[in-house]
């Protein structure tokens, strides 16, 4: 930043620092939620004593003796139980502790803070468990695109010439290829039985940004003295690339990757919205939104569409905040 710019923007760095911290805190919260989903929302309690047996963490261990129980029924039969904060599992249908019998979907109330879907499944519980699918798809896809993009970008920048020309065409191809079409067709071919094809497919389509950046960085780095010094010492190309070029090209690439996670989460949701997502009954945010579409015509159950969207928007915002903070950190150093 030039001194003149510093004058124009005295308020920016501080404001951005706060934003970055907020982003990191939210990201931490999201990861904890995803990892601890089973302890936050489960049909089984954290601890329970029933039939002269004490079960510790049945929410995780799922003992066969409690197969037919949930926190609602255990409240009647157990000597004592320590419940989870949200006493419903993500796939628990017509989940209720008060024995209500009116037709689902139930609107948000004290029992179901964010309401339920038409099968009586708690929306908050499904959102908490859905964060697993959404976050792991986001991070998984970016990890793949990071590997592919870094490899191709660094090679193109290092060897230039024919290699660069070929890889540039490949980048252009992945960039212009109609992504949604690709997934719609892929879903037709593979009949997704897990989220894995989604993750791999997204990773293989989203690397061009990263490759571009890695290439530009490598073009810059290869002219620098420390690379020359390494070569003078007799280092092989592979060693120079791995030990000297890649680590130095990494920071700007990681910024792009952070924004990439946000993009991948958005894309998972957009695909799920089109009906191509993780297979049922796994909860993912996109799948929740897809289910909510049915209520557009009879919009009684607005909560089904509003809350998953807020979860997605909040997560994407978090990743963008973190990405912006990282970017800021680099432009200052």
């Amino acid at each position: 930043m030039t001194p003149a710019e510093e004058l124009v923007l005295p308020w920016r760095p501080a404001a951005k620092k706060g934003r970055g911290r907020l982003g990191l805190a939210c990201l931490g919260g999201l990861v904890v939620t995803a990892l601890g989903a089973d302890l936050l929302a489960s049909d089984l309690p954290l601890a329970v004593r029933v039939d002269a047996h004490t079960y510790l963490l049945p929410a995780l261990t799922r003992p066969p003796q409690l197969r037919l129980s949930n926190q609602g029924t255990l409240a009647q039969t157990a000597e004592w139980q320590l419940g989870t904060p949200i006493p419903f599992g993500p796939n628990q249908t017509f989940a209720t502790a008060t024995g209500r019998t009116d037709a689902a979907p139930w609107a948000p109330d004290r029992e179901h803070l964010l309401g339920t879907d038409e099968l009586g499944r708690d929306v908050l519980a499904r959102l908490i468990h859905g964060s697993r699918a959404s976050l792991s798809i986001g991070f998984g896809a970016v990890l793949i695109s990071l590997l592919v993009g870094l490899l191709l970008g660094v090679l193109a920048g290092w060897y230039r010439g024919l290699v660069d020309a070929c890889l540039s065409r490949l980048t252009e191809m992945a960039f212009t290829f109609p992504t949604f079409f690709f997934f719609i067709a892929l879903a037709g071919v593979l009949r997704f039985t897990s989220a894995l094809p989604l993750v791999i497919g997204m990773g293989l389509l989203r690397w061009p940004d990263i490759a571009r950046l890695a290439r530009a960085e490598t073009l810059k780095l290869r002219e620098l003295d420390f690379v020359l010094a390494a070569r003078v010492l007799g280092a092989s190309d592979a060693r120079i690339l791995w030990r000297h070029v890649v680590p130095n090209a990494l920071p700007p690439v990681l910024v792009a990757a952070t924004f990439g996670v946000a993009g991948a989460i958005l894309m998972e949701c957009a695909l799920a919205f089109l009906g191509i997502g993780v297979p049922a009954p796994t909860a993912s945010w996109g799948e929740l939104l897809f289910q909510a579409q049915r209520y557009l015509v009879h919009p009684g159950a607005w909560w089904l569409a509003v809350f998953p969207g807020l979860a997605v928007a909040g997560t994407v915002l978090t990743m963008n905040l973190v990405g912006e903070a990282l970017q800021d950190l680099q432009s200052r150093s």
Partner: protein, 322 residues
């Protein structure tokens, strides 16, 4: 300039061929055919696809030969020429994407300039936060929300629920027809454009801020040139370059995003066409849509590159290499 155009076109050739190969491969590796869904179309199938005895590469070359003359065969679903279906759908998608582009850039540039000119004002800060949030909100969710709250589901029916025209629009007369279409386009275009608007205005703000801090702006100010003139004649001109580059990124994402928007608002464009075609295993249509979308995207990227060359003479002379 002519040499540069020629070079870029030549570079696009392998990209185009690569995309056709992938498209062809996906469509031919896909299991199932329309026969399973609709025995009626067996006749069309026997006319359409080369006999299975032929190896795939030969089939591909035949298909490519026909594609180059804009002959995509007939749809397996209703036996209409695919070209006919495309000419119905493509203008709708292009209209949507181009309108969104115009709206996004038309708003982003003044917004960005304002934010750079008055960085400390409350409006600027509010705008910057708002645009940052807008950038993070998923398109289809916004689509669902406006459909829910603005088309009469919950709340007032300010806008129509779906489609591009009202059912009785044919009787409105030309002006009424236009107004009706515009009214139908408000929500889809808004949904499609706001993300691009956010990205571009951030870029405008950043490069304007950079430009305003340069010495030539100080010099202009010292010479007593008016604030408005400095902003628009000196700083803006120099900060538009990276904004033009963003065109080539915006267009593919707008075309991709139009699939979701078309789907949400029931607009029968390329996205809806592709979606239905894949559901029906209508491979001639699928391959045509994919190829055409790729070609339109490639042309859009080429157009943005050429615009860049027009704006920045250095590119014309050397080509975009570093």
């Amino acid at each position: 300039m002519r040499r540069y155009v020629f070079k870029r076109l030549l570079q696009m050739l392998p990209t185009f061929l690569g995309i056709t190969v992938i498209t062809f491969a996906i469509a031919h590796l896909a299991p199932g055919d329309p026969l399973q869904l609709d025995p009626e179309s067996s006749r069309a199938l026997s006319v359409q696809v080369a006999p299975p005895a032929e190896p795939l590469p030969t089939q591909y070359l035949r298909w490519l030969e026909r594609v180059l003359t804009f002959d995509f065969g007939r749809s397996l679903a209703d036996q209409r020429p695919v070209t006919q279906k495309l000419t119905e759908a493509l203008p709708k998608t292009l209209l949507l994407a181009l309108l969104a582009l115009v709206v996004a850039y038309g708003l982003a540039i003044p917004l960005g300039v304002y934010q750079a000119a008055r960085p400390r004002s409350l409006v600027s800060r509010a705008l910057s936060t708002l645009l940052f949030v807008a950038y993070s909100v998923p398109v289809f969710w916004v689509a669902v929300m406006v459909l829910l709250f603005l088309t009469g589901g919950r709340g007032p029916a300010l806008f129509p629920f779906e489609g591009l025209h009202s059912p009785q629009s044919a009787s409105y007369g030309p002006l009424g027809y236009l107004a009706d279409t515009a009214w139908h386009l408000v929500l889809p275009v808004a949904c499609l454009s706001y993300a691009t608007l956010a990205v571009v205005s951030r870029q405008v703000r950043a490069s304007m801020t950079h430009a305003l801090a340069q010495d030539y702006v100080q010099a202009a100010r010292a010479r007593g040139i008016g604030r408005r003139s400095i902003l628009f004649r000196h700083a803006l001109r120099n900060s538009l370059l990276p904004v033009v580059t963003m065109l080539s990124f915006s267009l593919p994402s707008l075309i991709g995003g139009s699939i979701v928007v078309e789907r949400a608002f029931g607009i029968p464009g390329m996205g809806s066409l592709a979606f239905e075609a894949i559901g029906q295993r209508d491979y001639p249509v699928v391959m045509a849509v994919s190829t055409l979308t790729a070609v339109v995207t490639l042309l859009a990227v080429l157009g943005a590159d050429l615009l860049y060359a027009v704006v920045d003479p250095r590119i014309r002379v050397e080509g975009p290499s570093r």
